[in-house]
Symmetry: C2
Subunit: 175 residues, 2 copies
DNA sequence: GTCATTAGTGAGTGATCACTTACAAATGTA
DNA sequence: TACATTTGTAAGTGATCACTCACTAATGAC
């Protein structure tokens, strides 16, 4: 990966996240990255390839994000770490743009990518089973739906306070 | 509202919902509606105006959807009716496309439109208070986040089974 | 040092975009 | 019937789109 290749990816990530994939022109990406437009097509073949390269990074980043949780054996710690994912996703501006794009792109591509969250689903199910829930899989899924809903709000609603609902869930699950 | 005006709106709704706003050209809308492209601009001024007309319809439809719930006084019935919204939203293809667009458009416009769901939030809060929840507002919000997360999955994941989680919540709230 | 490969440029390309304009058909009103 | 207004069309418009091409600069292998 050359320096200019990375500059293209970073510029594309930022623009796709904030303006949308379809709404971002390749000329805009090139300008922001400080390279000629032709170079994008040399390295990524076409605009779709550029997007796929970013999504590819996403697959790896999500594994890293979940790795810590999947290995955890203490059930309450699994829940605690899950509720802390939101903070991890938005530690800095680059990460925030990255994860926002992951949420945003779902609707432009019309693909949820459920396999990506499956490891988390399994970890949560095991944890909730240990904690004595009757239907741990359904409870895990409801928690994940709520998390997705909260995250959506966080990215779309400027003044959204994510702290309060997270703390509420913290209390609710007695963590 | 002339016949052709409605045809334009319906064609636009369908295309915007399935292809996206930015990705849908005005010529495509005209072709699908069976009118000349110029007529779109005569009636709706520009492409943005066409979208706004659809969103306007959304504001009214959401009020109708919630009206029944807001007037309900029995707390459990409020919860039951809330969980049944999902079915109401997808009674027929036109409705499904309409509500899908409402979800989809949020990410293209980057606006959540929290005022639209406020009446439901209030109704749920009152209901959960009556049922003795410590923090009924937070509980109401978590339920709404979960609902949003479920609906997102429903629209993006072809084989998503919305029935099971709804039934789980039904049991959980003892309805 | 030579030569093949890769990285990078910048000026194109046709296609498509949202939108305009000039004009005709339909409709309402007296 | 006369005429003003609204509804509708078809053929444009310049701008912008994703992408290509001919070319040069840099790098690596021997």
């Amino acid at each position: 990966m050359t320096e200019k290749q990375e500059k293209i990816l970073n510029a594309a990530l930022d623009l796709f996240a904030h303006e949308g994939f379809k709404a971002t022109s390749t000329s805009k990406v090139a300008k922001k990255a400080g390279v000629s437009e032709g170079l994008i097509f040399r390295h990524f073949e076409n605009k779709e390839g550029l997007l796929q390269a970013i999504i590819q990074q996403g697959e790896e980043k999500i594994k890293v994000l979940f790795a810590d949780i999947v290995l955890e054996t203490d059930p309450k710690e699994v829940l605690r770490k899950t509720l802390q994912i939101g903070q991890k996703m938005n530690q800095n501006e680059a990460d925030a743009a990255f994860w926002k794009l992951q949420y945003k792109i779902k609707w432009e591509l019309e693909i949820y990518g459920e396999h990506k969250v499956e490891p988390l689903e399994r970890a949560l199910t095991v944890a909730l089973e240990k904690l004595g829930y009757d239907d741990p899989l359904q409870e895990a899924r409801i928690l994940m739906y709520a998390f997705d809903g909260m995250t959506t709000r966080f990215y779309l609603q400027d003044d959204f306070d994510i702290q309060t609902p997270v703390e509420y869930l913290w209390k609710k699950y007695d963590l």
